[in-house]
Symmetry: C2
Subunit: 387 residues, 2 copies
């Protein structure tokens, strides 16, 4: 504990020293009166008149060309939960930093102070705010919005705006999970489309992973939330989970996580620390694949999972092999979308991105199913896959 | 005209070449896994937990330390009017560029797409949007919001937020105008507080100039709008102009601009091109001071004003002497406010800023009442004056 406190102090000291992890930078010189006359007044008047008449050309003539707003309302920050806009800010700033470092995208953190308490009013306020500030951005990366609000927020923004909008907790996670699973199936010599998959957690990530694995051709998926297996007979399901019940659980299994896992090939956990035990793994099929993605403490620690017979183990952490991390995905997705003027990130794009990511590992092994965050091929491979 | 078209093409080509005039830049290295572990996950979790508990420390640990949002709804862009968010974007981006170049402030342009038509609904939407996105910013620079909406918008944001909020069209213009007038009075050997001032234009700038000159001790101010002199007997005044009527026109002059100018020492135009004639100047007191600030075409061209007897002439343009330009003011005001954690830009600060700016010209002349935009002393002098 003392050690941990000391480590926390070191982290805060490092953040204090840098103050901000990103800043702005001029792309033109402002050294002479002629510079001011061109890039400020009166030159800017010509540019303003032009863009007022040709708003679609903002992509060519302004920051819109390469900018992404990283936006959160702070309701589902990491594993920390609803910690508000200031709690969310360090994560959004970190994402903006990664956007720049990995993909040379000009991203800026925007954290929302939304006062409405009623869920629908909250959704409306968030959607209205983001629509109002959208014109100058080339893309919008939604982050750490809690479920189920996140689904309606993302959907309405996608429909209303003419720029790419992606809720990374959903689709970034789904894409990197699918990529990892493609290679984990190779490692275990299992037929990918025949995989029996159990997804623990029916929040933003769980729902998006389910949908993307379905789109990738996997039919046998069981989703499990805190109450148990999600299935049509349950009366406590919100509309999103009702929809999930319709597209999952073809064998109509009932009960809890243990029931779901019998003969399953894959456990994908986007739920909570320590949820999975050795006993759970022991009821699974031969060579089970365990993606324990809860962060920072996974559903089961890799050592225990291995002892219980897991053939491939992935976590969200950087200190174990096979890190399943959104940061492998979002820089490339937006790089591709900005470069090609893509306005919607379709399921097809998500599938291609996952395949492109998986293909970077030519000989996957139990310890290496995904490229490293430092692998310089990742962004361009994913960007290329965006059409 | 062909020449002008050619010039416009050159401007557009320059903007197209740079694409964006600002970008983001990392302030930390992200070369190793340890970098990612510190500045992204899991390190960022410690920072998020800390800021959720100590939101006021976002000024120390995040982009909030040095960031300013440059926000417009595009309703009063330069002299171009209500040309919408995309029309406003080049100006806001230019201001963000100047913030960086002049004061090392990390500013980003945000242009608002506000759909409400009813004025009060519009104001509410704008205020709600800006309040919602405020947490990550160290300051908010409002720009090119039309009058009278701009007054309520600024006032409500100042009261609601704990960061400096300044509508630059009002206060930047007022501060630089006051600075210029202090030195113009010296040049003409007129007693500053006894100046008889006529202000043409009762929009954002006209109202703010009037108030700041009053605060600086000038009692004899007449404000004139399109209809004529603003005075209490008029029945067509909005609440802001009614307030103006109460604090101006002590000699109770009636009529039009010509009536207002009889024996006036100073004409300040923040109105429209060509409004002032030689005949107007001829009715003024000896050695009249003419600030013809309409942009890009002033109320009167300097050559004509001089021929009519003007002793000191200023415009908003960079191609004449005595450019009265907001860009002399806003970088220093926000630099000072950010450095000192100042939450409100008071009248007292505005007065001190104007005096500090004027004091940079030790021997003002008719051709040199204000420092140049390239003068490196300007930002620090104004920043020092902010308390």
């Amino acid at each position: 504990m003392a050690e941990s406190k000391k480590h926390e102090k070191q982290i805060l000291a490092a953040f204090k020293k840098t103050g901000a992890r990103i800043e702005t930078k001029s792309r033109v010189k402002m050294k002479t009166k002629a510079d001011f006359a061109l890039y400020y007044t009166p030159g800017v008047g010509t540019m303003s008149t032009y863009l007022a008449e040709h708003p679609e050309e903002a992509r060519t003539y302004s920051v819109k060309r390469n900018s992404v707003a990283v936006i959160s309302d702070g309701t589902a920050v990491l594993g920390l939960g609803n910690i508000g806009p200031y709690g969310a800010l360090p994560v959004m700033e970190g994402k903006a930093l990664i956007f720049k470092e990995k993909a040379d995208i000009d991203a800026w953190p925007i954290v929302l102070n939304i006062t409405a308490i009623d869920p629908q009013e909250r959704i409306n306020e968030i959607v209205n705010t983001i629509m109002a500030i959208a014109p100058a951005w080339g893309g919008i990366n939604l982050e750490d919005f809690s479920a189920p609000n996140c689904f309606e927020i993302e959907q309405r923004l996608i429909e209303a705006l003419d720029i790419p909008v992606m809720h990374d907790d959903q689709h970034g996670t789904a894409i990197v999970t699918l990529a990892g699973l493609i290679n984990a199936a190779k490692v275990t010599k299992k037929n990918f489309k025949k995989l029996k998959v159990v997804i623990s957690g029916a929040g933003a990530a769980g729902v998006a992973i389910t949908k993307l694995l379905r789109a990738a051709g996997i039919d046998d998926i069981i989703a499990v939330d805190r109450v148990g297996i999600i299935e049509p007979s349950r009366t406590d399901l919100n509309p999103v989970k009702q929809q999930l019940a319709e597209i999952t659980n073809p064998r109509m299994v009932s009960g809890d996580l243990m029931n779901a896992l019998i003969y399953a090939d894959v456990f994908v956990g986007v739920s909570s620390a320590g949820l999975l035990s050795e006993d759970h793994i022991k009821v699974m099929a031969k060579d089970p694949i365990i993606f324990a993605l809860a962060n920072p403490i996974p559903e089961i620690m890799p050592g225990i999972a291995r002892k219980a017979g897991a053939a491939v183990i992935a976590t969200g952490r950087s200190d174990f092999p096979n890190q399943v991390n959104n940061a492998l995905v979002f820089p490339g997705i937006f790089r591709g979308a900005l470069d090609k003027g893509i306005r919607r990130i379709t399921d097809d794009t998500k599938l291609r991105a996952a395949k492109a990511l998986a293909a970077l590992i030519s000989n996957p092994t139990a310890e290496k199913i995904l490229p490293d965050i430092l692998d310089k091929r990742v962004v361009s491979a994913i960007a290329k896959s965006v059409r």
